[in-house]
């Protein structure tokens, strides 16, 4: 059987699989129903400040496995639900970022840069529409590329990226994020170094947990949820509460965000956003196909590249970073375009690009019968490669989620916008409790709550000192990956201390890391002058 036969069998596995129920004699496939349920759950979770897609996936996975079991037949319904959550949470995550400046994920931080100023200017409805339109467009491009190119891209990625190149690529990602985001490259690098140091506490290969000073409650290190949600959400809550308190003391009232401005999104405006969306979708898809990099770099690149385009074109509204609709479009299209292409390294190499992909890999490992790796896309000389059929079945669930997103996503997302009517002085403390509770039910330890508050204070100080939180968060996420890859690369090259310069591609990545730091620092000096 050739590749196309496998594609068709994958599509049939979704639509001709077991039916959940029938409507007027038409059977509704179980996998399709699970995708729809997952999508709705994802939007609700993503739109709730303090909750995020990976959290819902973590809670849902054991429940799904207890319902569907460990048989191979469970794979598509379980993956369908998880993919639904992933896609729903991506658009839902823009809601708190735009309305309350409380991003639940690192990607959403960039959405806040222009989305929140739009909301404070009374254009929350318009910002949400742009976020949905851009997100679903980027996602569609990525899914089409996934279907067409996944097998070929998987082979290419496997062939050209060895351990030294992967190490160099992670360094390039870190340098880029530290340089691009924020007002000062030096501050971005400080945040990055602190994020790495925090991630190195109690990790490593030795029995003794390093950098803990022998303190028992530090022996497990800092959980990724405590660190990220602490810096991103709790820090922002502390800052917003203080701003409101001072505003009330000065003026006697607290300004609330209301949807009072132009909230329509015309077809003309959509057409003007399309170049930004197309550019970011292409970038997001390319980044998503690389292993271990993820959606945040895509969002950052999309945002930076969109900024350049914005300078050349006639803008639709305010300046970049101050409520430009193009900024929301560029970020949302890029991070959504990652989700489809991200499945390429997930399925072909078993390397996740973001937290959501971790749970997709966990699902395949828990259920069995499907082993992510180079064998997934090998066309057999005789018979059927079941894993390839399942891979195309999974791609089909992504397309189904996308169709649901086009039809219903925007309406569900805007319905979530009603949260803007809740006074912020009540909403933000409630979000704090939601965040701390969500962390506790995952970690089951009050120590995790204290760590979260500690990281919240750090996030507050970063904001007051004009240090961007994003390099800290990304460095925290990638530090473990970077150290592991570097260790393996060092061993694989026979202890060569110059392993980062052992291939032309790795050298290109390292030179790129230095260049991006220098170029952006010169630009900031120029802007400051």
């Amino acid at each position: 059987m050739d590749m196309l036969d496998h594609v068709w069998l994958g599509v049939l596995a979704v639509f001709q699989g077991p039916a959940l129920f029938t409507i007027a004699g038409v059977p509704i496939p179980l996998t399709l129903a699970m995708v729809a349920a997952g999508f709705l759950t994802g939007v609700l979770v993503g739109a709730t400040p303090g909750l995020a897609g990976p959290m819902a996936m973590a809670v849902a996975l054991p429940i799904l496995i207890s319902v569907f079991g460990f048989e191979i037949a469970a794979l598509l319904p379980v993956m369908g639900f998880l993919i639904g959550i992933m896609k729903g949470a991506t658009i839902g995550g823009a809601v708190p970022a735009i309305l309350f400046n409380t991003p639940g994920t690192p990607d959403a931080v960039l959405t806040t840069f222009d989305g929140h100023p739009m909301a404070t200017a009374g254009q929350s409805g318009k910002a949400l529409k742009i976020a949905h339109f851009s997100s679903v467009s980027g996602d569609t491009v990525s899914d089409i590329i996934l279907f067409i190119c996944a097998p070929f891209l998987a082979v290419l990625v496997e062939r050209y990226l060895d351990l030294p190149e992967k190490t160099a690529l992670i360094l390039l990602s870190l340098a880029f994020i530290a340089a691009v985001v924020g007002t000062s490259v030096a501050k971005g690098l400080i945040a990055m170094a602190l994020g790495m140091l925090a991630a190195f506490v109690a990790t490593g290969e030795d029995f003794y947990p390093r950098l803990t000073g022998g303190i028992p409650w530090l022996a497990q290190g800092f959980s990724i949820t405590s660190a990220i949600l602490g810096v991103l959400i709790v820090g922002e809550i502390f800052k917003s509460l203080e701003d409101m308190m001072r505003e009330r003391a000065a003026t006697g009232t607290i300004r609330q965000t209301v949807a009072s401005g132009d909230n329509a999104l015309t077809w003309r405006e959509r057409r003007r956003l399309l170049p930004f969306i197309a550019n970011s979708a292409a970038l997001g898809t390319m980044i998503g196909a690389l292993p271990g990099i993820g959606s945040t770099l895509a969002a950052t690149l999309g945002y930076a590249s969109g900024k350049k385009m914005h300078e050349r074109r006639t803008p639709m509204g305010p300046d970049w970073g101050k409520g430009a609709p193009e900024g929301v479009a560029a970020t949302e299209a890029a991070n959504s375009a990652v989700s489809g292409a991200n499945l390429i390294p997930v399925l072909s190499l078993g390397i996740p690009g973001n937290a959501s992909a971790v749970f997709l890999i966990l699902a395949t490992e828990s259920i069995g019968g499907f082993n992510p790796g180079p064998g997934v896309f090998r066309v057999p000389s005789v018979g059927v490669n079941t894993e390839m059929v399942l891979a195309f079945g999974i791609f089909t669930t992504m397309v189904c989620a996308n169709v649901i997103n086009w039809v219903f996503g925007g309406r569900i997302m805007r319905a979530m916008g009603m949260m803007i009517r809740v006074p912020k002085q009540i909403l933000l403390p409630s979000v704090l409790l939601v965040t701390l509770t969500a962390i506790y039910v995952q970690e089951t330890s009050l120590a995790a709550i204290w760590f979260t508050l500690g990281f919240g204070v750090l996030g507050y100080l970063f904001r007051r000192l004009g240090v961007s939180v994003l390099p800290f968060v990304i460095a925290f996420i990638l530090a473990g990956n970077l150290e592991d890859t570097a260790r393996q690369a060092f061993s694989a090259t026979g202890g060569d201390p110059w392993f980062l310069f052992s291939s032309p591609l790795a050298v290109v990545f390292i030179v790129g890391a230095v260049a991006v730091t220098v170029v952006f620092s010169r630009r900031q000096v120029g802007e400051g002058a």
Partner: protein, 180 residues
């Protein structure tokens, strides 16, 4: 003439000092293996290398900031006072969350809390007390007046959260029931 010691330059100097402390002392002293290890004739990276490299980056970035300065920031003593006040309120709220259940159980039934921590209504007591206090106290910080309507809203939000996590999922434990 000496450059003016701005907040950014101070931040840079703190980063240099912290980076040097970690790179020259802490990373090596608080890790089992050094920068590079040789075992059975093969070299491998030790646990101290990654923190040392990160600390060197921290120092260099701090030096860059100290030399170049940066956009002016305004971290003041008022900010420090605010964050200390908020942390104190959170400390009290989380204390209520942690000890509210055991205190009430002891006062009413004279029994130990642990065997009752997964039974209604005891499993909700600490969370509801602490959660309500947290939301109401932080709302008070902003509004500077304690309104009963706010306390009722805080109670409603906390009860909703307790139901949201506890009713559909048998295996999830609300705070503080995993620690007592």
């Amino acid at each position: 003439m000496m450059p003016k010691l701005t907040q950014d330059r101070t931040l840079g100097l703190v980063a240099i000092a912290l980076g040097l402390f970690i790179a020259l002392y802490w990373a090596g002293a608080d890790s089992e293996t050094g920068l590079v290890e040789k075992t059975r004739g093969r070299y491998s990276i030790g646990d101290a290398l990654a923190p040392t490299v990160a600390a060197v980056f921290l120092s260099l970035s701090g030096l860059w900031l100290a030399v170049s300065g940066g956009p002016q920031t305004t971290l003041s003593l008022r900010n420090a006072g605010f964050i200390m006040g908020v942390l104190m309120l959170l400390f009290v709220s989380l204390g209520l969350m942690r000890w509210g259940g055991p205190w009430l159980v002891e006062a009413i039934t004279a029994a130990d809390y642990r065997p009752l921590r997964d039974t209604v209504p005891w499993k909700y007591v600490g969370f509801v007390l602490g959660g309500t206090a947290m939301i109401a106290a932080l709302t008070f910080v902003v509004e500077r007046q304690l309104r009963w309507s706010r306390v009722l809203i805080a109670l409603g939000v906390t009860l909703f959260l307790a139901a949201f996590y506890d009713l559909p999922f048998e295996d999830l434990l609300l705070p503080p029931n995993g620690d007592v």
